[in-house]
Subunit: 363 residues, 2 copies
């Protein structure tokens, strides 16, 4: 029997229910900018050493919550666990990004590809269960996965890319091959996220990190539509409560209205979009998550606070004149940088909580 | 006395005047994907060896025009010539991007910065004059420069960057220092572009390659506003004809309406935006340039042609029901990739010319 939730502001904001302050969490909040993270990582030996050990994953997931009253925890893991479990052979070489030993680049490789046995991802579900126990009801736990398109990018390119030449060549020259990869990814990611929810995840987020590199019509067909199918397959209730789904396409501003229509509760936004404009465009049909530029955290605390206030004011008062409610989950527009001074995060969290409480105090 | 222009479709489209076909040119059309370019570059010894020699610059500028009936030529040069002339010490190490020996990172360096003596950029104006003579009226010549913000990025970072940490830290922590750099860049770039026009450039383009990395309010203040000031200072008539100004912010889709209001004749767009939507947003108050994903050129010629037709159809018929005219200059949404097979460009140019001529034939 899980402990009752002491702070459900995050879940409530996702569902556009009243909250007493704007909840905040930070993408990659358990990360290299924290000395305690670097220490645990050194003990684990490698990034995958951390991610594959439920004990280490639990330890680093909770580290930022020990420092700050963040309103949500997010599973410590990586989006590439799924293609790794498909047999692509994930490698993290020191000082480089991730690589796959067996990228999927031709008809034969695509034909061989199969949805992964979820048993190979057992370590993730064990980490979710372990983190839930450790959280003991303090804040909700977010599970996550990569979007079908974003995973396809890595699976075809075999690594990060500047120009996405290989996957875009497949997209334009052999859309049938890309479609088969995407169909498999929809299936695999749906099963993966549902298993995270079964293990205790109280919200799920889909990271479409590379949707923004696509042309308008290609985005709609190869990123948006698979995400729509994925969202439809998600289990949306657990422990008697709705499990909110967040979709974040980096650079997805041009497609905000379309993204708001695929069934997610929350759309994540990067900093290139004004939250106020975005809110008008979606007319509070979904909640919004974001969208401070992580680079603001390099500036002195007073500037961090002023910029955080500007984001909250740009979103505006949650309750509208017509009585309906908007939902805002404060976040950065991208993962926190390893060069961030942790004391600037202190200023950020304080400013978000204090200013949003003031915003809710009747004058 | 310059030769009369034989093909002015590009200039006419920029000014939303009727044309007999959609003009096309390609960003970085004189580049590494052409074997003849690689041969000239080998003779010149280096990229800057090409750019600083009017003879070599003329040779490579004309190379793509020998292959294809492109509707405009663009000066072969680099946006970093201006900060180089300010004394920052531009270096192109083999296999790496450009670097500055003396980046501008603190109060002292910013105070020392001065607008460049245009004599140090004489080689650029000589190249413009030489290319005009060599073109002999075939098509118009486009001059160009980097935007004040984009130059500031390189000047502060000292090189390309993944996260723009140094320049964004300056932006948020010391906006006064960044503002002084931008003010100088406005002055310097205006003088530089006007000197290119004096030397024979018939249109000018401002490359805001990094405007799209900024938060909404930061973009408006530190990229858009300096570009507005710059555009106001440009000489807009030469040889008895209007000199069109093109502004291209990579990732600038969110700010299209604002960009359309700064006085430019043409707004360049990358492929994330639908041209038809963009045209409706600006209501034909400016012409649009773009926006095929350069990755389409990796696909077989039949796909290239279909995608080119889709871009033209998305823009729609130039003449509207109310009799007003839109303007479309076909281009990629970014520079052409070095991995592009030149014969795919053949298919592209043919498709753009043929389909747009058909579009103008009464049924």
């Amino acid at each position: 029997m899980p402990a009752p939730l002491q702070n459900d502001n995050f879940l409530r904001a996702c569902l556009r229910e009243p909250v007493d302050h704007t909840p905040i969490w930070l993408m990659r909040q358990a990360g290299r900018y924290l000395p305690e993270y670097r220490a645990t990582r050194a003990r684990a030996g490698s990034f995958m050493g951390l991610a594959t050990s439920p004990a280490f994953a639990t330890e680093v997931t909770l580290q930022p919550l020990e420092r700050w009253p963040l309103d949500a925890a997010i599973l410590f893991s990586d989006i590439l666990t799924v293609p790794d479990a498909m047999g692509l052979g994930l490698q993290f070489a020191e000082g480089e990004g991730p690589r796959f030993e067996h990228p999927v680049r031709d008809e034969q490789a695509v034909a061989r590809l199969q949805a992964p046995d979820l048993d190979r991802l057992r370590y993730v579900f064990d980490a979710v269960a372990s983190i839930r126990r450790a959280l003991d009801g303090r804040v909700p736990l977010i599970g996550f996965a990569g979007s079908p398109w974003t995973l396809a990018c890595y699976m075809v390119e075999g690594a990060g890319s500047d120009d996405y030449r290989l996957v875009k060549t497949m997209l334009y020259a052999r859309p049938d091959l890309l479609q088969r990869i995407l169909d498999l990814n929809v299936q695999a990611v749906a099963a993966y996220l549902n298993a995270q929810v079964d293990a205790g995840a109280q919200a799920v987020m889909i990271f479409d990190s590379w949707g923004g590199v696509l042309a308008d019509s290609a985005f709609r067909r190869f990123s948006l539509e698979p995400m729509r199918q994925l969202v439809q397959r998600l289990q949306r209730t657990a422990e008697g409560r709705r499990v909110p789904c967040i979709v974040f396409t980096k650079g997805g501003g041009p497609w905000l209205e379309a993204l708001a229509g695929i069934g997610a509760d929350v759309i994540g936004l990067d900093w290139t979009v004004s939250l106020g404009d975005a809110r008008r465009r979606v007319d509070d049909r979904v909640a919004l998550q974001g969208n401070l530029d992580p680079a603001v955290l390099f500036a002195p605390p007073a500037v961090v606070q002023a910029e955080a206030v500007a984001v909250i004011d740009d979103f505006g008062a949650p309750r509208r004149a017509d009585g309906r409610c908007g939902g805002h989950v404060f976040n950065l527009g991208h993962g926190i940088s390893q060069h961030t001074p942790p004391e600037h995060v202190t200023a950020l969290v304080e400013a978000v909580h204090a200013h949003s409480r003031r915003q809710r105090t009747p004058a």
